[in-house]
């Protein structure tokens, strides 16, 4: 299993009352799965994604990513885990504004200490495979939303992480761009074997996932596998 979550609970303390974002959630995700976490706002899908990614800490329970228990890790160790095992695609792209598209893609490899020449080759290759090689030298401010999201995906997958976490990846994209992005994620999932977990309430995104997990009020209320033929079937 790439991800194991056991009895996971997350409570946010507000001034009025504690909010139970997740309550006793158990979920296992195997290598190579493409999982969508869906549900209404406040259902806990983003919370679960953030706990798996080590961006947040559970009040109870345990998260194990690729054999590493996140509970006892400090911030620097969590950062190292994200660097080596997890790729992130954020709703707001989160590209580094002072770096070009190619440099953004190289960013994680540079943190990992990959040699400059290899970084450049791999970054240009992945940008080419995403059809944006001609935009390699442009900075994020010079790219459209869809182009920025492609660069973000390229950055997330170029190091071939075990796990790709995508939080509402289609939130700022039109439907055509969303379809293109999801095709890309599916290709990465199938061809590179990268496990993908995405939090979404976009039906198009859910359609591409072979495993659809539905949450409500912080609990998993449905967890179903979809035939490969049905998944990614055009609407």
């Amino acid at each position: 299993m790439v991800v194991l979550c056991r009895n996971l609970s997350r409570v946010y303390r507000t001034e009025a009352v504690p909010v139970h974002a997740l309550t006793s959630v158990d979920i296992d995700i195997a290598a190579g799965e493409f999982v969508s976490l869906s549900g209404p706002s406040g259902s806990g899908k983003s919370t679960l994604l953030n706990l798996i990614g080590g961006l947040d800490r559970a009040n109870e329970g345990e998260v194990i990513v690729d054999g590493v228990a996140l509970t006892g890790l400090n911030e620097a160790q969590l950062a190292d885990l994200r660097l080596t095992k997890i790729g992130f695609v954020f709703q707001a792209y989160n590209l580094i504004p002072v770096l070009s598209a190619r440099e953004n893609v190289e960013f994680i490899m540079q943190l990992q200490g990959v040699a400059a020449r290899e970084r450049r080759i791999r970054a240009l290759a992945i940008l080419d495979s995403l059809g944006i090689a001609d935009l390699a030298n442009r900075r994020p401010g010079e790219l459209s939303g869809g182009q920025q999201q492609r660069v973000a995906v390229a950055r997330a997958v170029v190091t071939e992480p075990k796990l790709l976490l995508a939080d509402e990846p289609s939130a700022n994209l039109d439907s055509t761009t969303t379809e293109n992005l999801l095709e890309l994620l599916r290709r990465i999932n199938v061809e590179r074997g990268v496990t993908i977990v995405t939090a979404t309430h976009d039906p198009i995104v859910m359609r591409y996932a072979r495993r659809r997990v539905r949450l409500k009020d912080g609990r998993i209320v449905a967890d179903e596998l979809v035939d490969e033929e049905i998944a990614a079937e055009p609407a």
Partner: protein, 404 residues
Amino acid sequence: MPLTLLARLGWRNLWRYRRRNLMLFMAILVAVAGCVLVSALIRGYQYDMMADAVANLTGNLKVMAPGYRADPSIAHGFNLDPAFRPDIPADELIGWTQRVRVPAVMLSERETRGISLIGIEPKDERTISFLGSVEIRGDGLVDRDDGRILLGVELARQLQTAVGRRVVIITQGADGLNREAGYRVAGLYDAAGTAIEKAYAFTGLRPLQKLLGTGAITEVSVRLRDDRFSVLADSRLAREFDGLDVLNWRQLEPQAAAMFELADAAILIWFVILMLALAFGLINTLITAVLERVREFGMLRALGMRPGSVVVQVVMESVSIVMAGLVGGITIGWGLIVYFADGIDLSRWSAGIELAGLRSRLVPHLLWSDVVAVSAMALALGLLASAYPAWRAVRIKPLDALRR
């Protein structure tokens, strides 16, 4: 830690916020240039003051008999071996001389004044005291046997006497009885201040000893190439003159020494005031710069950058600005010092500046230790002002940072 990456991010972020960073750079540049120039002017004043104190017959070190300072008469004289040479290395020593200095009354045909009458070795005296650099109207003294007298311009004016005229000296001899002698005025010296011209009259060492009825002297004065040599020289002289007092210029001229130390304090106060003024702007700007990028730092950490690397990146940006401001400020400050290398003419305020112990031309004197001090202060300020908010920023969880 990927320093190349951090340096690239830091460098580009400098240009990303170029207007704010330019303002910060200018503030540091002006503050540092001000520190460098003003410290050099204060040092100029300080070193002029020390040079004047040392050159005004004090020397860096002086040997005197105990009790002479309280009662400066020939009764507190001492004998000097004719073969004496101070045991101080030649590369540390400008020169030395022996003197007889006694209080005396000087009379002209019209006026009477109390003075210090000093018997000197003219050749040695010119090497170590102001007599070597002042303008002399008439003749200077020729040698230790010269029986004429050299007066200050101001004293001659007050006594209404002139070169070639005679004056009468009355002083107390070694036997305690009053002695009286007539001297012809050889010349008039024009010193920097009238206080000196009024106070000191010079004659040859031998004629004065003869008048006093003694072969003793009252002081040995030593001038060193650098005041830092005085500690070792002091101990050597103390060994050679057992039982006598060996005093440095600070002990002999406590007022000048206090002013010298006051100048040190003034420089420090000036640095602190400028740095505090700079600190408010620097800290405010850097804290704002860091806090408005909390989300960006959260993103970097979410991608796998360690908290320490984020802090280093922020500090590199801040230190780059501070360094640029420092280099610019030091260059401009140094340029201004070069521009004023011939000194700033203060003669318009000559009455006031003489009271303050200043020369009429203030020449800046740059000490690199002051430059190092101001650089260290500015760098420390930049480090603290950026590292602290950056450290606070990375303590925010990446998720909370990303939600901002």
